[in-house]
């Protein structure tokens, strides 16, 4: 956006835009990342960024329930989930390297195309956005799509789940920064679902491993119409 515009935006807004940019960056980083551990850390970082942006929105717009959701984000996305994931991969002793179905450079190119599409789609919305943070919704969409792409390209169960959670992050980001947050009850519900889902997945990993003695989802292609 042109410099004149930048000055019209208050500092908080700029910070949020910055967060948005970082989100997107992290999204790309995860897309290109081969190593599970780093993937988890990146995910944690994303959570952190999400937390900060939520916090800022909460402070600038004096909405207390957003503080709650920020706290929720911190607890869930920055502490709990990464911790669980770390435990899991240690317990499961997953191979460190993640091989992708599509080689990284191509994936990146596709990702860029996705970003373009996302911005293009989000343009009309951001124009009529009343909030101080216009572009964020486009970025959130981009994050979601990138995570989606990541889910498609990863051939192991754990990275897929991480991608799934990253997608959740993107949605949260959209919810908080673009619309100053959903009603509390909804956010709680969402958080609960994510949590439970994680637990169930954790259980699943073990059973999958024990049944297929690997977490490679390419083993799970039996059910089809021959």
């Amino acid at each position: 956006m042109s410099p004149s515009l930048i000055h019209t935006i208050p500092l908080s807004g700029q910070v949020i835009n910055l967060c948005a940019a970082i989100m997107l960056l992290l999204g790309f980083a995860m897309l290109s990342q081969r190593r599970v551990l780093t993937l988890i850390n990146l995910f944690m970082l994303q959570g952190l960024v999400l937390f900060t942006s939520t916090l800022i929105v909460a402070i600038t717009t004096h909405q207390n329930h957003l503080l709650w959701s920020a706290g929720l984000t911190l607890v869930l996305k920055v502490i709990a989930l990464p911790y669980i994931l770390h435990r899991l991969i240690r317990r499961l002793s997953v191979k460190w390297d993640v091989d992708t179905l599509l080689n990284i450079p191509t994936t990146m190119l596709v990702g860029i195309a996705l970003v373009v599409i996302a911005f293009n789609v989000a343009q009309p919305i951001s124009h009529l956005s009343g909030t101080i943070t216009r572009a964020t919704i486009g970025i959130a969409l981009a994050c979601v799509l990138l995570a989606f792409l990541m889910m498609i390209t990863r051939s192991k169960a754990v990275p897929q789940v991480i991608a799934f959670l990253a997608m959740e992050n993107g949605l949260f980001f959209a919810a908080t920064s673009a619309t100053y947050g959903m009603p509390m009850v909804v956010e709680l519900g969402i958080a609960l679902d994510v949590m439970v889902g994680m637990v169930i997945l954790g259980v699943f990993f073990f059973q999958i491993r024990q049944q297929f003695d690997s977490l490679d989802i390419r083993h799970m292609e039996r059910a089809k119409e021959q």
Binding site: Q63, V121, P124, I125, L128, S129, G130, I137, L141, V144, F148, M151, A157, Q160, F164, M167, E168, L171, A174, A175, A178, T179, Y180, M182, P183, V185, V186, G189, I190, L192, D193, V196, G197, I200, L201, F204, Q207, I208, Q211, F212, I217, M220, E221, R222, A223, E225, Q226
Partner: protein, 483 residues
């Protein structure tokens, strides 16, 4: 007030109870009892709503109107019959050593939890809570699908989880967009997610945003509805889960997902003043009717077979609602009803059939009608009903849908009819082989509870010949308000 509270709390309570005592004897009876109470409560609620009209409860978070109260009643009914059916079914599974007592506990409590989420999703007024409930429903059913812990069931559950999780995520984004659009009209704390409020101001909502939102919503909830090409989880989940679960998946979950789409469609139509949402749904619907028809003839597994048939019928319903108008929406609602009843009945019969044969492979099931005429006739009549043979109710709704299509979208009619014809050819051929012929199947260790099957089929038959006036009136109201 109290009725709705009962409708929502009874399943929850019984789920908790079953989580504690589900491994003891009599768990199945408790399950049935809970479902029965839910059904009674739902019945009271229905009477209440018919009497006093729509009501908004619990600081506007819940909302009951003709549209969802009939789905609530249907859900409670099918839930009850399914619990009746699952009692002997699960006992046989237990005897065959396929399920331990702990698993049965999980099954019972998750079944009730699933019912609870369904009812919440139906009765809530808050699109956010709707989403939460749908997600919760996904989670519970994932556990149910994976109940056997076999590789196949795990694979199915995994696919189900990932695909529906992702889909649901899109739906959330759509919800956020709607909220985003509504907030500008309703202000921040104007309950911008409450459907009633949205409905009140739907004409002022921002069209572009809502159209985008609807795209996300239909992709999201459409995944759960099983719209092609988002349907791929459905046959696996139906095939690998225990049969009662397949029954409720087909009979209820798909309906509820579709219900969510319809709720959003009403808003979008109000905002856009175009037929955008309708066209989108019609396109999905046609695709969803045609593609599974061609799968049918290739599938070897009987439960996959009927899974695909569920997809096809969901497509038909989506198409009906897409066309819109009093007749088509009426037909869509009717088709929802008859499809739930018929398909769950079929799954009951199929469950026992596959238990008798010890397999789900179609070619290995033969001569049911000799070993157990009730199961054989149940399966045969159910299949004929679902294939749209008069005098069963499925034909009624299909007749209305087709005639509306002939009237307004003649080009679509041949496509639909071809698909239905192909479906008839493949499905009927397979089922005939299973029901008739020299028996290969063995009698069951416990005598099956086939009352549900024939109750359902009886209801469907009645709907084919005579729709009770109040029910028709009720459909009309709902249809009018779907538009």
């Amino acid at each position: 007030m109290i009725e709705l509270a009962l409708v929502l709390t009874i399943p929850l309570a019984s789920s908790v109870l079953l989580a504690l005592f589900g491994h003891r004897r009599g768990a199945a009876e408790l399950n049935s009892a809970g479902s029965l109470l839910t059904l009674v409560a739902a019945g009271m609620l229905t009477v209440r709503v018919i009497g006093h009209g729509p009501m908004i409860l619990f600081d506007q978070q819940f909302f009951v109107d003709p549209l969802n109260v009939f789905l609530i009643a249907l859900t409670a009914l099918v839930g009850f019959t399914t619990s009746l059916f699952s009692r002997p079914y699960m006992r046989v599974e237990h005897d065959h050593g396929r399920l331990s007592a702990a698993r049965l506990r999980l099954y019972h409590s998750m079944f009730q939890m699933f019912m609870c989420t369904m009812l919440v999703a139906l009765s809530t007024n808050n699109l956010g809570i709707l989403w939460v409930a749908m997600e919760a429903a996904t989670l519970t059913t994932v556990l149910l699908v994976a109940l056997y812990r076999t590789p196949a069931s795990l694979e199915a559950a995994w696919k189900y989880f990932i695909l529906c999780g992702v889909g649901i995520a899109q739906a959330l984004f759509g919800t956020i967009l709607i909220y985003f659009a509504a907030e500008r009209v309703l202000g921040h704390d104007g309950g911008a997610l409450l459907w009633t409020h949205l409905d009140a101001v739907k004409t002022q909502l921002e069209p572009t945003v809502l159209s985008l939102a609807f795209v996300f919503v239909i992709v999201g909830y459409g995944t759960k509805t099983g719209l092609v090409p988002l349907h791929n989880w459905l046959p696996d989940a139906h095939a690998e889960g225990p049969t009662p679960v397949s029954a409720v998946l087909s009979g209820l979950l798909l309906n509820v997902a579709l219900y969510a789409i319809i709720r959003c469609k009403v808003l979008v139509d109000g905002a856009l003043h175009t037929h955008f949402a309708g066209n989108l749904m019609m396109a999905f619907g046609l695709l969803t009717v045609v593609v599974p028809a061609f799968y049918l003839s290739r599938t070897k597994d009987v439960k996959r077979l009927f899974g695909y048939s569920s997809i096809e019928h969901m497509g038909l319903i989506t198409f009906a609602f897409g066309m819109g108008g009093p007749v088509a929406s009426f037909a869509g609602l009717l088709h929802m009803t008859v499809h739930s009843l018929t398909k769950s009945a079929i799954f009951f019969a199929v469950g026992h059939a596959s238990q008798m044969a010890g397999t789900q492979i179609i070619d290995d099931i033969k001569g049911l009608i000799k070993r157990s005429p009730t199961i054989g006739w149940g399966l045969m009549l159910g299949t004929l009903a679902i294939l749209g043979m008069p005098p069963f109710g499925v034909f009624t709704s299909e007749f209305m849908i087709l005639t509306t299509a002939i009237k307004h979208y003649p080009w679509a009619t041949p496509i639909l009819l071809t698909a239905l014809g192909v479906a008839f050819a493949s499905m009927f051929g397979k089922v005939q082989g299973m029901v008739f012929g020299e028996p290969t199947v063995k009698p069951l260790s416990h005598n099956p509870a086939l009352l549900p099957v024939f109750v359902h089929l009886g209801l469907v038959l009645m709907l084919g010949l005579w729709i009770p006036p109040y029910l028709a009136e009720w459909y009309r109201q709902a249809a009018k308000f779907i538009g």
